[in-house]
Symmetry: C2
């Protein structure tokens, strides 16, 4: 079960291995949004995203026998890099299954952390089956991307730090994909501040959690083309969803244009690179999706891993809009 105790244990376990990321504020963002906004900068986290927290907590919690066997993760994105980094630092062997068409830069970053890369075909192979088969054949322990209490507790340490530093927030917003970050952060936040309202934010074309909450049951949506490549999961997790149901005041959605506009704002005004997925919660605030009575707003900037060509397209798009 996920609770404050599990999150506090995670915090103690991972503290030597991750950054306590800074909380930043910006006059310009406050002026533009009409709120008092605090940013938890997980784009400055090790390996460039909050994922280092959960992966480190999971891997550091393994038994000695499991550590000797090694771990496996299936991911083309930030979870891949996080598992590779956390495993290397714990002297644990890591295999990472990655789609063959994943961005070269992310593959190289994962390889640079020492992981053993296995490619699968996104169209032909079932990614979960592909990972499970390697795990069984090679005796590896699976490190899930979100549907695991130790992963969620690790991500929750981000919320714990955030509320320790800024206790009196009216609300907190996180991007939402499988739901691990939202589950962890909202659990920590509500434990430390019973009045706080928690919002999950999704791209409007990848709103599986929003639809699932409306239905009261997990919905699976078709693949989304959103630029928020980290939020393309098609349904909430089995373990994360009940926590989201309990903790979410609402799910807000943002368009790709709003995400891109927010990324440019963060880059040129706040001087920070935030990836599309990482900018969705900020986009919801900048584009005024929050109720007017919520003034003191916590935003998790969840990651900063952007491919140069994606960023170049985004700048081009900004020029065209002027």
């Amino acid at each position: 079960m996920l609770n404050l105790q599990l999150i506090k244990e995670a915090a103690a376990r991972i503290a030597p291995h991750i950054h306590r990321t800074p909380v930043m504020t910006s006059h310009k963002f406050n002026e533009a949004s009409g709120k008092q906004v605090y940013f938890k900068c997980e784009n400055l986290q090790r390996a460039g995203a909050f994922k280092a927290r959960g992966a480190t907590n999971k891997i550091r919690s393994l038994s000695d026998d499991e550590k000797r066997r090694g771990v496996i993760a299936v991911s083309s994105g930030n979870h891949a890099q996080a598992v590779a980094l956390a495993a290397r630092e714990a002297n644990v062997r890591a295999v990472v299954a990655i789609p063959a068409d994943a961005p070269k830069m992310k593959v190289e970053a994962t390889r640079a952390y020492g992981a053993d890369i296995r490619f699968f075909d996104r169209q032909r192979d079932d990614r979960d089956a592909f990972g499970r088969e390697i795990a069984e054949r090679e005796g590896l322990v699976m490190v899930p991307a979100y549907d695991d209490y130790l992963i969620m507790a690790g991500q929750g340490t981000c919320g714990l730090e955030f509320l320790q530093e800024v206790p009196d927030l009216d609300c907190v917003l996180t991007p939402c994909s499988g739901g691990g970050l939202f589950a962890g952060v909202s659990t920590a936040a509500r434990a430390l501040n019973s009045e706080i309202q928690c919002f999950a934010v999704e791209p409007e074309t990848a709103n599986d959690t929003q639809l699932s909450l409306a239905k009261g049951d997990r919905v699976t949506i078709p693949p989304s083309p959103t630029i928020a490549d980290g939020l393309r999961v098609q349904s909430p997790g089995a373990l994360t969803f009940p926590i989201t149901q309990q903790n979410a005041r609402a799910v807000l959605t943002v368009s790709d244009i709003e995400i891109a506009e927010t990324m440019r704002f963060m880059l040129f005004r706040l001087k920070m690179l935030v990836e599309p997925s990482g900018a969705t919660a900020a986009a919801a605030v900048l584009c005024k999706k929050l109720p007017a009575d919520l003034k003191r707003v916590g935003v998790v900037l969840s990651g900063g891993n952007v491919d140069p060509d994606v960023l170049a397209d985004l700048l081009q798009q900004g020029e065209n809009e002027q």
Copy 2:
């Protein structure tokens, strides 16, 4: 005269109006450079550069009569925005003389801070005479970009904060244009740590300070085409140069290619936008221009104001090199 006392007075005077910017570190930068590097993040300063420190100190030091008259600055860059911001917050009228061909974005930012903009022709007009004439006609007080002890003391507060936070640096590096930042930071650093070695860094095509130190006298160089648009000053200041002579262990130079490579490293690895001028000191470290015996290195990232088209060119250039 510039000394620690003047810098401490500046620090007390400007504290309510500027950011105490964070000091950051990066495993990746340390690995790539072979040093233990601390970054003083003035790209996160108000108005996007250290210039807010000096301008605020100067304007807050004016007599009541001078404040009633208002101020003028001549600049197309960060000094313009800094003076406009500092004046607005002190309820002082600001006129800023800007070349007619300055980047629209910087003009708009300066105007957004409430300054009265006057355009001059970079080819036809003498910029200093243009500014002096307006100052005399309208009774305004000139806020120099660097050649003024209150400006230098303001910039020195950056060094004061840096050494307070990381006292045991072997060396500190700053970008160098007119010399105000280097004079201020090196004076503070040497007062707090008598062993520290101070390096000024210039683009190799804008090495007026390097040439001046070699000659023992201020040299004027032709206009430089460097991408470091904030470092195109053609000679060191009359007041800053003697301080640079006394404090600089050496002037290091970096090429535009090294600056661009460093900007991309800072952006994609450290997730921070640093402008070309602001990245020169980091470039000197990344490109291994420092003596081997200096291990604990302080780097001032002096600003983060980059035009989107300049950044787009830089990404394009990075793609072509791969």
